[in-house]
């Protein structure tokens, strides 16, 4: 693919992620903070999000498998997950976390387990989308192009 084609693909793909609710305006904030002095900012923050999320999902899975579920712990983990997902603009994950906390408050085990499945699914989905987006960005830069940020707003 030539650079212009890749750039058009990037614009189309990014727009679809916003349109389908995987990402919200906060992700655009991250993109705004990336510049020549920090060309990998988005990729860095996104990979921190992946590490954080996978640790939290493992912890949540463990806590919810126990005989006596410590709902305070569940809530603390979900609170963290909600914070990190909203900081990077992973909108679906964030919304799952809001529902998750409500079930946690009610100490509804069934509801919590359902939410855990939902948040896992949405997390891995947005992870693959973000990975694809960043791969595309790296290809554009490797081919000597720049990320056409300004095209997103038009």
């Amino acid at each position: 693919m030539e650079v212009g084609q890749m750039q058009r693909a990037w614009v189309e793909y990014t727009r679809s992620l916003f349109r389908e609710g995987f990402l919200d305006a906060q992700f655009q904030q991250l993109q705004l903070l990336q510049d020549e002095s920090n060309p990998d900012f988005v990729a860095e923050v996104v990979s921190l999000f992946f590490e954080d999320s996978e640790r939290l999902l493992a912890d949540l899975t463990f806590v919810l498998e126990q005989q006596n579920i410590d709902f305070k712990k569940v809530d603390a983990h979900v609170h963290q997950f909600k914070g990190s997902s909203s900081s990077i603009g992973a909108q679906r994950v964030k919304n799952d976390c809001i529902a998750f906390r409500n079930f946690c408050e009610e100490q509804n085990i069934e509801g919590c387990l359902r939410c855990l499945q939902q948040v896992k699914q949405d997390y891995y989905l947005v992870k693959s989308k973000l990975e694809a987006l960043i791969r595309l960005e790296q290809q554009i830069v490797a081919a000597g192009g720049s990320i056409p940020m300004e095209e997103l707003s038009s």
Binding site: Q29, F41, L48, D52, Q80, G83, S87, G89
Partner: protein, 277 residues
């Protein structure tokens, strides 16, 4: 040097140096026993011509993602940034000592009890394990050497009672997370205000010296001078009546000054009483 000090901060030295800003830090970054005058600060600002790069913000958040984000936001806005992951590390960075209040005999200006790096604003997360952002705010506002530093609280939850509590305790702003670039426009006025206030304190220092001397005299002469008015309150009193603490600290100019001259920092507290925003 402040490098040694920062080196204690478990790797935050690296973060500071990574920004390649070390050489651009304020001219008064190393301040052994004396704070710079407001005039020094203004001079420094004029020399560089970029006032914002002279502002140093201490950002406190237990989440690494959020530290990255706030660091980037602040640097994009041309501030110098130091990030730490807990309230206790923030206090350590500020040179805060627990016994500052409880032990009035501690001579002010001892190296341990001093902020070696100028911090113009603290921005802290509210919800952190151990010391919360609210606890940090209280410690800063209760400390005579730190209370003039503006504090901004960030929280992902929009809880009106929490916001009220923080503002009553002396926070300048409450930001909902995630913090956006546009929120940061609200920081600068607070830093400017503090600089102006510091300058005013320098100017008032001379007046205060006089009042300290007079209060000494008052203490030595417990008998009121004869007066035609029966009520001493109605008498014109040239120096402001010094609080009890001030009398113990007559050898301690800066501390006395901050105890006596910051009435606007002491906001009314309504602890325990539910209030609405």
């Amino acid at each position: 040097m402040f490098y040694d000090h920062v080196g204690v901060m478990h790797g935050h030295r690296k973060q500071i140096l990574k920004g390649n800003k070390a050489e651009n830090w304020p001219l008064f970054a190393h301040r052994p026993h004396q704070s710079p005058s407001a005039q020094d600060m203004l001079d420094a600002m004029e020399i560089t011509g970029d006032s914002r790069s002279q502002f140093h913000v201490l950002a406190v958040d237990d989440s690494l993602i959020d530290r990255k984000l706030i660091e980037r936001l602040l640097k994009t806005s041309s501030y110098q940034v130091t990030t730490v992951d807990s309230g206790s590390k923030a206090l350590k960075f500020l040179g805060f000592q627990e016994d500052e209040q409880s032990n009035p005999d501690t001579p002010f200006g001892s190296p341990n009890n001093h902020q070696e790096v100028e911090v113009n604003l603290i921005i802290t997360d509210y919800c952190m394990p151990g010391m919360t952002g609210y606890d940090l705010l209280k410690k800063v506002k209760e400390s005579s050497s730190l209370r003039n530093i503006p504090v901004v609280i960030m929280s992902s939850e929009n809880v009106p009672s929490r916001i009220t509590r923080c503002l009553e305790e002396g926070a300048e702003e409450f930001f909902l997370k995630p913090v956006r670039l546009s929120d940061l426009n609200r920081l600068k006025p607070h830093m400017m205000k503090t600089k102006i206030k510091n300058q005013k304190q320098e100017e008032d220092q001379e007046d205060l010296k006089i009042s300290e001397i007079q209060s000494d005299e008052q203490q030595q002469q417990p008998v009121q001078p004869p007066s035609p008015q029966p009520q001493p309150e109605s008498q014109p009193q040239p120096p402001p009546p010094p609080p009890a603490l001030l009398l113990q600290h007559n050898n301690n100019k800066r501390k006395a000054m901050e105890e006596g001259l910051s009435p606007d920092r002491t906001r009314p507290r309504y602890n325990g009483i539910p209030t609405m925003v």
